[in-house]
Symmetry: C2
Subunit: 201 residues, 2 copies
């Protein structure tokens, strides 16, 4: 066993690294060795970055984004269209949309999607705050930018019902052929959606 | 861009995580978010484990293993056969052999293999110390437990030449069918070696 050979300090480092998404036991061992070999250039800077992240990063009480300020940079950004709220499952989806530059609006991070199997119910999501924000004057459209999975679409339907009494437009992302995608590799559901939602040239 | 949204602290964390083997830019973003969400149970313990590893872990001046003591636990272990030295490329290979429990001897970690393409020459490896250790009285066998790659086997040949003048036995790992392996999925080289090195039932 590695712990008998290398001591409890390395074993503890490996165990914690193995809990990061994307790292299994084998890659955690490789990562631990890599860190030990690159102390000055990686281990110490990463340890510092983690300490600083813990000290400074907060969850935005308005939208659920993570940032060093509350309200977050996006919520305070006067150049963004405040009439559109983009609802996402997680901060990673917010980052993905920001990288795409597709929309210049405000966000609302749910912190998950409804999932009966995983025991995620409406009260576990950031929904109360969503209704409060949408109820304020000024918001005219809610874009449901949720994953095209069963849980994502169930959540989209639930939110649509939840906001049905409000005088706003609720929209969702288009389904279709990914840019660069080959038809031969796409499933029937995507192809059907792409045909149904075809646009004029 | 994530840095404009989430601030330089998160961006720095993502950049450093992306330098771990096994994590790319996307999985580094997921890992950073996971860390921020699990502060008490993961981010802080991992940061502490890294600080402790940096303070306590040293490279064994005798064999090149990493441990909290120098000489390392293996070099100081009186229950191990000191007449056999197992030469490995990296500490991860030492750990793999220890997990297997296949050998109860001492190790020598090269810290790499010869690789003309990557500019790794003999003087970059822990070879001088290997010759010194093998030259001491008591060592009777050197097992070259190097990867069955071109670079690994080149290094094995180089070390065999290097130790040729010493009155010791130099051996290497057997080639053959992996335990649980199916013949149909093995390459011709492995099958040929398994036939050539066949053993009596």
């Amino acid at each position: 066993m590695a712990q008998h050979v290398a001591g409890p300090e390395i074993e503890r480092l490996i165990q914690l690294l193995a809990r990061l998404p994307g790292l299994g036991p084998r890659s955690a061992r490789r990562a631990a060795l890599h860190l030990i070999k690159k102390r000055e250039t990686l281990l110490n800077p990463l340890s510092d970055a983690m300490r600083i992240a813990n000290e400074r990063i907060v969850v935005c009480s308005s939208c659920g984004n993570v940032d060093t300020a509350d309200p977050c940079t996006i919520c305070r950004d006067a150049k963004r269209d405040p009439s559109i709220l983009v609802v996402v499952e997680d901060v990673s989806d917010l980052w993905a949309l920001e990288r795409s530059g597709a929309v210049n609006a405000k966000y609302h991070v749910l912190g998950g999607v409804l999932s009966p199997l995983d025991g995620v119910r409406p009260e576990h999501l950031n929904l109360e705050r969503l209704v409060a924000r949408v109820s304020e004057p000024g918001v005219t459209e809610v874009i449901l930018a949720l994953n095209a999975t069963v849980d994502g679409q169930t959540t989209a339907h639930y939110i649509t019902e939840l906001l049905a009494h409000l005088p706003i437009k609720v929209t969702k992302l288009a389904h279709g052929v990914p840019v660069g995608g080959e038809l031969d590799y796409l499933d029937e559901g995507t192809l059907s959606a792409a045909i149904r939602q075809r646009t004029s040239f």
